[in-house]
């Protein structure tokens, strides 16, 4: 019982507390030594970063690796002016990791006896010890590097064209238009203007007409280009016969004539006279003048506001006259307005019994008339004839009239291709009256009294910016005449910034047309469908965003209004794709050179290479700047130095 008193719970608790106190006294010893060691390592790491970031490579030109790099020409004088960390980083990020590692080893192993490691982006450039301590000090350097062989100071330059000469193409379409009936003449006069300061390299007039008899050229009377008769110089490429209601034979002909010597800068006139003894002569789709020329221009910014006039050709028909003007409204156009001004002369005012029959009829993007001056539509003309003989509709001719008509056709417009058709004393296969109906137009001498469509619109940003040069090219379809016809073509990267594009349709006979585009990554997209039979414009606008770099395809189909592909209405191989693309006429700052002169020459060389062969520089502006501390190629990135005591 007595012994048990000593070893009570109280005594045990007391001994426990005493033991804890003693333990705390020993455990609570401050770790001054390890703190000093950690601080010392951190200072050493900081000092190494300071050395790597501030000492130039030239200070270590005697170390084996740098010495051999100098000797073999890898390192040049300008490279030795860079800091060691730049040098290590440039080799490391250029993939020369062994060189980077060796340089680090050779420099830092003389600097510290402690363990160290240089790391970047979680990769070790070099580590002097294999085993890490529990306590490691770290110092960081944020840097970006240069490319070996490139100077970090010098001159850079940019250049841009202020005046240039470009080789480009302009296409002047002849609209489908007529009429010369059964031996009577159709006269078409095209007035147009080319820029004044051009040098013409080539001018080719494609002729697409319906005329004559059985493949003969009867009544191919005149083709006068600026006063020079060219009708005997036409090379006929395609002749296709067709028979009319009464079995008479006529010919659709397609040919070309070189008019390079006749076409000139400034104002030009082409006068065409054709006819057919049997039927109705007119111009078919695909008649156009293609002029390739060089043009001097000063650099400018494209417009955002557009007012464009599309003049009718001057058409004198016997009897009757018709013309079909096509024009386009871009898909991004805003505030679109359009007006139609017509100066129509020598129209015969006709009657059928007591009814005033239609002698003037206008269609705007529709098979329904936009305007008619009589009781009937064109489609119904046959019902308002006392008799019909060789396509001539007998009616009472009351008087002759000349009228000027003005219409606002804004509400009838659509984005893309628009077509305005005007018929005087004729429609389809019928004509009437006895005088020379005239759709009057002379934009060169009498512009305000001419017949035209005027379209105005705005776009949000200019078609081209300052420094961009527009070039127009044409790709001929080629191949065989067929229906449908598909044309596949390539757009290069250089040509890929297209701002305007058109399909020029060349046909012999035609009915109703459908034009589509497709690519491997683009389902077939229809850009134009004729609103009614015989509405086949010479050119169809193609949304530029449908054309992209690489392979593109255009499909043209002529179909009958009530279904089915027209078996003999071929699409001719001289159809074409016209596109306008932008080339940059400026280059930015390039490489660094030791002199301003070298930098400028480099900028000019780059500019000339960029603009290519179709543009020649006439006036180049340059801007040269001296630069310091250029960093090339890699970074910014962290480098870190780890220092720890050897185990």
């Amino acid at each position: 019982m007595a012994k048990s008193i000593i070893f009570t719970t109280d005594i045990l608790v007391g001994i426990g507390l005493t033991a804890t106190l003693l333990a705390l006294i020993f455990i609570g010893k401050p770790e001054v030594k390890s703190e000093i060691s950690f601080q010392s390592n951190w200072l050493e790491a900081k000092d190494i970063v300071n050395i790597l970031s501030n000492l130039k490579a030239s200070s270590f030109s005697d170390t084996p690796t740098i010495k051999s790099l100098i000797e073999n020409g890898t390192l040049k004088e300008e490279d030795l002016n860079k800091t060691i960390i730049d040098l290590i980083g440039s080799f490391w990020y250029a993939g020369n990791k062994t060189i980077a590692s060796n340089i680090t080893k050779e420099i830092l192993e003389n600097v510290t006896k402690k363990c160290f490691s240089l790391q970047t982006e979680n990769e070790t450039v070099y580590s002097s010890c294999l085993n890490y301590s529990k306590s490691i000090s770290v110092a960081y350097a944020l840097t970006s590097g240069y490319e070996i062989g490139k100077p970090v100071s010098g001159y850079v330059a940019r250049a841009w064209l202020t005046k240039y000469r470009k080789n480009t193409t302009q296409i002047i379409p002849f609209y489908p238009e007529g009429s010369g009936w059964t031996g009577n003449r159709l006269e078409v006069t095209k007035y147009f203007s080319l820029p004044p300061n051009i040098t013409i390299y080539n001018a080719t007039l494609f002729v697409s007409i319906h005329f004559g008899t059985s493949k003969s050229q009867a009544q191919f009377e005149q083709l006068v280009v600026n006063g020079v008769q060219k009708k005997n110089d036409v090379i006929w490429l395609y002749l296709q016969e067709a028979s009319g209601w009464y079995g008479e034979i006529t010919t659709a002909a397609y040919g070309y004539v070189d008019v390079t010597n006749e076409i000139k800068a400034g104002n030009n006139t082409i006068y065409l006279v054709i006819g057919t003894p049997n039927y109705h002569s007119h111009i078919h789709p695909g008649m156009r003048l293609i002029v390739t020329y060089s043009l001097s221009q000063e650099m400018q910014t494209g417009n955002q506001t557009f007012v464009k006039r599309y003049y009718f050709d001057n058409v004198v028909g016997n009897t009757g006259a018709w013309s079909m003007v096509s024009f386009y409204v871009p898909e991004n156009a805003k505030n679109v307005n359009a007006k139609l001004h017509l100066n129509l002369k020598n129209i015969d005012d006709t009657k059928y019994f007591i009814w005033n029959t239609t002698d003037i009829e206008i269609y705007v993007n529709s098979k329904y008339p936009f305007y008619q001056d009589g009781i009937n539509t064109g489609e119904d003309a046959q019902y308002y004839c006392y008799s019909i003989r060789k396509y001539y509709c007998y009616r009472d001719i009351v008087a002759s009239k000349s009228v000027i008509l003005d219409f606002d056709i804004t509400s009838n417009l659509k984005n893309g291709t628009n077509v305005v058709s005007v018929y005087l004393n004729s429609y389809g296969d019928l004509h009437w009256g006895y005088k020379d109906a005239n759709i009057y137009s002379n934009p060169l001498g009498d512009a305000e009294n001419s017949s035209y469509v005027e379209v105005s619109y705005t776009i949000d940003k200019p078609l081209f910016l300052y420094g961009e040069i527009d070039l127009t090219k044409e790709k001929i379809f080629g191949g065989e005449a067929s229906n449908p016809k598909t044309f596949t073509f390539n757009i290069s990267e250089r040509e890929s910034k297209i701002v305007e594009s058109f399909v020029h349709i060349a046909q012999g006979f035609s009915s109703t047309i459908n034009v589509s585009l497709f690519r491997e990554d683009l389902p077939k997209f229809t850009v134009f469908t004729s609103p009614s039979p015989r509405i086949v414009p010479e050119n169809v606008y193609v949304y530029p965003n449908l054309i992209s770099e690489g392979e593109n395809s255009i499909e043209i189909v002529d179909f009958q209004p009530y279904g089915g592909i027209s078996p003999t209405n071929y699409i001719l191989p001289w159809s074409s794709f016209e596109y306008t693309y932008l080339i940059k006429g400026m280059v930015g700052y390039g490489n660094v050179f030791n002199s301003s002169q070298l930098a400028i020459q480099d900028a000019i060389d780059r500019l000339i290479q960029q603009i290519g062969n179709d543009i020649s520089a006439q006036d180049i502006s340059v801007d040269s700047q001296s630069v310091q501390g250029i960093r090339w190629l890699w970074g910014p990135t962290f480098f870190k130095i780890l220092v720890w005591d050897k185990l």
């Binding site: 000593i6 401050p30 050493e44 000092d47 300071n50």
Partner: protein, 165 residues
């Protein structure tokens, strides 16, 4: 009956066991006191060393900072620093000598501590030393070796801080 009760009470407090237990407890307490005392002495010594280590680091930093004003001279120096553009400035090193050790000690807030600087090349050649005080009667000597840039070369800067006996 009364006799029996008295005996019972006495035997519970003043037994041999009690005295033995009390003696052991006192011995433990005495041992704990001496241990605590010597420990406190050790802690004090470590603390002094830690303070000296702080002085050492602060004293070594002058080779890496610019001081104030950045281009100070002997008459306007408020904070001493011997570097400019991450390199040792020889002019400032000369001016440190002109300042004298007492002014340097004041600017470094050395208190009772002393400092000596030695600059070596990487191959161990002594390039510079200041103030060349004898360290014969030194205790608590702390040494810190760092690397710096002087004349576009790497040098080792050894800072020694100690207390006089």
């Amino acid at each position: 009956m009364l006799m029996v009760r008295f005996m019972l009470i006495k035997s519970q407090t003043l037994t041999y066991d009690f005295f033995i237990a009390a003696s052991i407890l006192f011995l433990i307490l005495i041992a704990a006191f001496f241990l605590w005392y010597y420990k406190m002495e050790g802690i004090k010594e470590e603390r002094e060393k830690a303070d000296l280590a702080d002085i050492l680091i602060y004293a070594s930093e002058i080779w890496f900072k610019e001081g104030y004003p950045i281009y100070w001279n002997t008459s306007n120096v408020l904070e001493i620093g011997l570097a400019n553009e991450n390199r040792i400035n020889t002019t400032k090193v000369r001016m440190m000598e002109e300042l004298g050790y007492q002014k340097l000690a004041y600017l470094l807030s050395l208190g009772t501590a002393n400092v000596n600087y030695f600059v070596y090349s990487l191959n161990g050649t002594l390039l510079y030393s200041f103030p060349n005080y004898s360290m014969e009667n030194a205790k608590d000597i702390l040494v810190l070796e760092r690397v710096a840039i002087w004349n576009e070369s790497i040098v080792k800067v050894k800072t020694v801080v100690w207390q006089k006996v």
